[in-house]
């Protein structure tokens, strides 16, 4: 529900993002190569911007092994170590990294909105 709340709110609000690159340019799913502190910061900032400024915990190798990035609530567990949401009917928030021309762009898949990543190198999958 709350993931839906985020996605639906984004869909309605139409967050600001960089202008999409030339629509004629080939775009393909991609992975980050040679991640650096600057590229990690750029990714974190872009994801945060997509999610109303949320401080999202990301792995250092986010989008290195896959073009998909799933964001979910931190896995809250009960006193027995089991996830509170052990029967979760929802879905994660999902981003996809695209290589468009020479740019690395993440797309919030629920809305299609895009953010260009600075200081980031990526290769098509």
């Amino acid at each position: 529900m709350r993931l839906c709340a985020v996605v639906c709110a984004l869909a309605l609000a139409g967050c600001r993002s960089d202008p999409p690159p030339d629509a004629q340019t080939d775009e393909r799913p991609a992975r980050i190569v040679d991640p650096s502190p600057d590229s990690r910061a750029a990714l974190k900032a872009a994801v945060g911007a997509a999610l109303h400024g949320a401080d999202v915990t990301l792995a250092d190798d986010a989008l290195v092994g896959s073009s998909l990035l799933d964001i979910a609530p931190k896995l809250a567990r009960d006193a027995h170590g089991n996830p509170i949401m052990g029967r979760d009917l929802g879905r994660p928030i999902q981003f996809e990294l695209l290589r468009i021309g020479n740019a690395c762009v993440i797309e919030l898949r629920a809305t299609g909105e895009r953010w260009t990543l600075s200081h980031t190198q990526c290769v098509a999958e």
């Binding site: 799933d70 809250a76 949401m85 994660p92």
Partner: protein, 522 residues
């Protein structure tokens, strides 16, 4: 002497509570007079807060809906909301909301009935600060070392061992090289086995269960099978769990047997599961041992995919994986989403959680499956067992009684506290979902959960997971050859029999400590 118990760890005890927490104090006097059995709509009281939040909700980008109210209006909202949505709403004793603090009132808004084993029927009644609940992270990423600890003995002499590790983490990097069965003897020089001081316990908590990255701690460990100890230093990091591990084929005289360790129903598991089942299908396995002893659940869609990949289309087409049932006031419409309730199918195609959407899933087309279970096998993992039984796949359970959580909820915020109150139960194709005491292998000693064919076998930390000599896997392989069990040693039911039957414990396995109570306390 004060006995120190190893229970969930650390300084996040305030973040989640099974007994209230958050909310407002004092029942207050403003609001409608209480009349037993008379309920106004919850919307009449929603977001009327003793301490309204101001500004923008960072999760939605919208202004907080809060306005000035009182503890009584918050209690009135809880009362009406519970009466509408709580699965066992008719078992709530209706009490005057003006006489309780909000946390205390929420605690009372549940059934007091017990299960056949004597456990409370509702063991899953929680609250959490909404700010904490709404914190986000990349799927499977949490601060830690990449070693999952099993707390076997919670009081001195304590025993903590490595249950499993995740690859490419501080725990598995040289020269640390931790592996299953390694026993932790000291943390930062504190005697884990015997120290009974608060300072010592605090140090153990901080070392074993870091809540942030960059914390370096030393551990004296004794590896499984070793007579010597060694000291390793690990620095906490945001580690990425690998939910599917140890995928392998075990050759036997009667065909190849597949094995996989499946630890979490994370989104990232989808692609790993597809890869694992593809590997085993290509290997031509004729049986599968699915190791879910440490799998506490997660996305139900992942469980549906797993069940399909085990059973195949012929057994599952048009069948229900799980049907969500709400209380009797909501027989056909999901009261939270407003959608018509329809059965969740066995997914035959990927959903795009981490694999490309719409791809046909591989399948082993099995008529039976062996599942290795423990007390940490919970929720969506139990759904795998229940759904397969619903379509007449023979499930053979080896291990301990599962946790017993056929329930779920939609978290609900009000006034800065998120409430978790059981709202629905999952049932299988045959309409069965009554396993509040878990599933138990048929030869389990003592009061048990719903009986499943198989063997009660304790966890075996002396062998790696996936090793044919590991106790549970060995018992499954032996049962496959001849349907007989070793003397029962498993743990059942959770929280009771182990203390009276003197059987070995599974240990309580603790993963990420985000929003979890303390592991150790006095």
């Amino acid at each position: 002497m004060t006995r120190s118990r190893i229970v969930p760890l650390v300084a996040v005890a305030t973040l989640i509570s099974a007994c209230g927490g958050g909310g407002s104090g004092g029942g207050g006097t403003s609001g409608p007079a209480w009349a037993a059995g008379v309920f106004q709509p919850a919307d009449d009281f929603v977001a009327q807060c003793a301490h309204p939040r101001s500004g923008t909700d960072p999760f939605t980008g919208d202004p907080y809906p809060d306005r000035k109210g009182s503890a009584l209006t918050e209690n009135n909202w809880l009362r009406s909301w519970s009466n509408d949505l709580y699965l066992w709403y008719s078992e709530i004793v209706d009490r005057n909301p003006a006489q309780y603090t909000t946390p205390n009132y929420f605690d009372l808004l549940k059934t007091t009935a017990t299960t056949a084993s004597g456990q409370p029927k509702d063991r899953f009644h929680f609250t959490m600060a909404t700010n904490d609940w709404e914190a986000l992270a990349q799927s499977g990423v949490a601060p830690g070392y990449g070693a999952t600890w099993a707390v076997i003995a919670s009081e001195p002499p304590r025993q903590v061992v490595v249950a499993y590790t995740d690859p490419n983490t501080p725990a598995t990097a040289a020269p640390v090289n931790l592996a299953r069965g390694a026993e932790v003897l000291e943390v930062d020089g504190v005697d884990l086995v015997n120290d009974n001081t608060q300072n010592g316990i605090d140090a153990l908590n901080e070392g074993l269960f870091p809540t942030q990255t960059g914390d370096a701690h030393t551990f004296t460990v004794q590896d499984a099978g070793s007579n010597t100890t060694r000291v390793v230093t690990m620095t906490s990091a945001d580690v990425t769990s690998t939910p599917v591990q140890n995928v392998k084929t075990i050759a036997t005289g009667s065909g190849a047997v597949g094995y996989m360790l499946f630890n979490d129903h994370l989104a990232t598991a989808e692609q790993e599961l597809i890869d694992a089942f593809t590997q085993l299908a290509n290997a031509g396995v004729t049986d599968l041992v699915l190791d879910i002893r440490y799998n506490g659940g997660g996305y139900l869609d992942i469980a549906s995919e797993v069940a399909f990949m085990i059973a195949g289309p012929a057994r599952t087409a048009g069948k229900t994986f799980e049907l969500t049932q709400f209380n009797s006031q909501h027989p056909s419409i999901d009261p939270v989403t407003g959608q018509t309730i329809v059965p969740l199918e066995f997914h035959s195609e990927s959903l795009g959680l981490s694999a490309p959407a719409g791809q046909a899933l591989p399948t082993l087309n099995l008529s039976r499956v062996y599942v290795l279970t423990g007390s940490g096998t919970c929720s969506a993992s139990e759904s795998i067992i229940n759904s397969l039984q619903g379509v007449d796949v023979d499930v053979i359970q080896v291990g301990s009684t599962t946790c017993g959580k056929p329930y779920g909820f939609y978290p609900q915020d009000n006034c800065g506290t998120t409430y978790f109150s059981i709202e629905f139960q999952g049932v299988n194709q045959k309409g069965f979902g009554n396993y509040p005491d878990g599933f138990s292998p048929a030869n389990t000693v003592g009061t048990a959960g719903a009986a499943v064919t198989g063997c009660s076998v304790a966890d075996d930390f002396a062998h790696p997971l996936g090793d044919p000599l590991e106790g549970r896997l060995a018992a499954a392989l032996a049962y496959r050859q001849a349907p007989a069990c070793p003397a029962p040693t498993g743990f059942a039911p959770p929280g009771r029999a182990a203390e009276t039957l003197a059987v070995p414990l599974d240990g309580v396995v603790h993963k990420s400590v985000w929003q979890q109570n303390r592991i150790m306390r006095r």
